[in-house]
């Protein structure tokens, strides 16, 4: 896969150089299909469900997950995007600028939100996302779906749906896209 610029992944800025592939595009696709079935099983359908992708890595996954849910159930699932820059607890420690748009298409009050991100690491992004969500209403429940759980949690947060559990070293970087999951390093330019 092509080298990808990673601006927000610690240590903040550089080019991702992949070392090995963990999942290929088909693997990511199969994981999303399985997660879609798990979501439907847990929630008995898609009534009052909203899928929200975290900017930027969670957004394409959220769209694919919503597509799968629609394909299986035959009814439409609203998809939103969320940028958590203004809710992060590391504002002041490093430059935190929003990367892309927040767009929540429906009032979240009374709905079940499936929050989607690419990689679950320290849990701080998810903590910020939970804060942000409450500004759009009071969801009945929030569930967390991630493509990769790489461990090293710093907060009491756990995912409800996991594409792949992946033990990592702290200094490694995990890159997720619809093309696959790779482990590698961030090279400073």
């Amino acid at each position: 896969m092509a080298e990808r610029e990673r601006r927000v992944t610690p240590p903040y800025g550089g080019v991702f150089v992949p070392r090995s592939q963990v999942l290929d595009a088909d693997g990511v696709g199969r994981a999303l299909v399985r997660i879609a079935h798990e979501v439907l099983e847990r929630n008995s359908g898609v009534d009052d469900l909203v899928v929200v992708g975290l900017q930027t890595g969670g957004v394409p996954l959220a769209e694919r997950l919503a597509d799968e849910l629609e394909r299986i159930e035959g009814s439409e699932v609203p998809v939103g995007t969320l940028d958590v820059a203004f809710y992060r607890d590391d504002i002041g420690l490093r430059p935190v600028l929003p990367e892309a748009a927040t767009e929540i298409p429906v009032d979240l009050g009374g709905r079940t939100v499936v929050l989607v991100d690419d990689v679950l690491f320290t849990g701080r992004t998810v903590r910020a996302a939970l804060d942000a969500l409450t500004d759009f209403g009071r969801p009945r429940a929030v569930q967390l779906a991630v493509m990769v759980d790489r461990g090293h949690r710093e907060l009491p947060i756990r995912p409800d749906y996991v594409g792949k559990n992946l033990p990592t070293r702290r200094d490694e970087v995990v890159d997720v896209s619809l093309d696959g999951v790779h482990i590698g390093e961030l090279v400073k330019r």
């Binding site: 601006r7 940028d83 820059a85 203004f86 809710y87 504002i91 002041g92 420690l93 490093r94 430059p95 935190v96 600028l97 929003p98 990367e99 748009a101 927040t102 767009e103 009032d107 804060d131 942000a132 500004d135 759009f136 209403g137």
Partner: protein
């Protein structure tokens, strides 16, 4: 970025960075709960030595929507009345741990001077006839919101250019973003040394209006009449006011702007100000979001936030 004193400090890249960040704060402002915790624990003080409603309220709203605490220092109620010097006032606020001072003063250069005295970030909210950078930023945002871009757009700034800090900041910002600016006004209200400005100059509003994408009206400061710079308000309106008849000269997609407070019926006819061509209320709404972006850039992080966004 530590202070925002002049549009020139930002440059084109800086302005574009602020405008990009403003998009996010426009979205925040449209939420049911238009407030984010980004600047929790920071304190913003507005220090105004000159009357203002919209700018001060706009800055305070912006700070509150970012969860910062706000303080208002106005000359009427402060120790300035007891003869406290500008420097002592600034240093007192600084010693209390205020993180940003939003300063307006009737003399050019005061915010620059204050920035030398304090640890806090200083935002110029208008200094004399000199600059009003956040007004220029919100005007740029409003124009790109309606017209897509400022590149190659033709903008007429009409009226009392000489005494207008809005005109000075806007000429800088508009031309940095690639617009062609024409200044229109009576010779007595044009500043000297215009040959060094990146602008065209005209005194014929009727000839300029059909060519422009933006007609930007400046407030005619009524005290100018007593200085005999214009013969009478009525004659000024007849020659340089955007009357209902004159507004028909504008192209279909053109917009009308005004920094406020406006003298209805003098520089701008009420029917025009309240019509679809006017984006004056958008300017006010965008002002809050732009000032959120400015305060966020100044006060988040260690002042090293990259202005290029991303």
């Amino acid at each position: 970025m530590r202070h925002l004193l002049s549009i020139a400090d930002l440059g084109r890249v800086g302005i574009e960075g602020v405008l990009r960040l403003t998009d996010s704060f426009v979205e925040v402002s449209a939420r049911r709960i238009p407030k984010v915790p980004a600047l929790r624990g920071k304190t913003v003080a507005t220090v105004f030595y000159e009357d203002s409603t919209r700018t001060r309220v706009s800055f305070e709203t912006a700070a509150k929507r970012l969860s910062a605490d706000t303080m208002t220092v106005t000359v009427g109620t402060s120790s300035v009345n007891k003869g406290e010097s500008l420097r002592d006032t600034a240093e007192t606020l600084d010693a209390m741990g205020v993180d940003a001072l939003v300063v307006r003063h009737a003399s050019a250069g005061v915010p620059f001077q204050v920035a030398n005295w304090v640890e806090a970030s200083v935002v110029n909210a208008g200094d004399g006839w000199h600059e009003h950078p956040t007004q220029a930023l919100l005007d740029c945002y409003t124009i790109s919101e309606r017209l897509g871009t400022l590149q190659d757009k033709r903008i007429a700034i009409v009226g009392d250019i000489k005494h207008s800090r809005v005109a000075r900041s806007n000429v800088l910002a508009f031309s940095l973003l690639g617009a062609e600016v024409t200044l229109v006004g009576p010779k007595t209200l044009l500043p000297p040394n215009l040959e060094r400005w990146p602008v065209e100059v005209s005194s014929d509003l009727d000839a300029v209006l059909p060519k422009v994408d933006v007609a930007y009206l400046l407030r005619l400061q009524s005290e100018r009449q007593t200085e005999a710079l214009i013969p009478s308000l009525r004659e000024y309106t007849a020659t340089y006011g955007l009357t209902r008849d004159r507004a028909r000269l504008l192209r279909d997609e053109a917009i009308v702007m005004h920094a406020g407070p406006m003298n209805r019926g003098v520089e701008l006819a009420p029917e025009v100000a309240d019509s679809d061509v006017s984006v004056i209320t958008r300017q006010v709404a965008n002002g809050v979001a732009v000032r959120m972006a400015v305060l966020y850039l100044l006060l988040s992080g260690d002042g090293e936030a990259p202005i290029d966004g991303g």
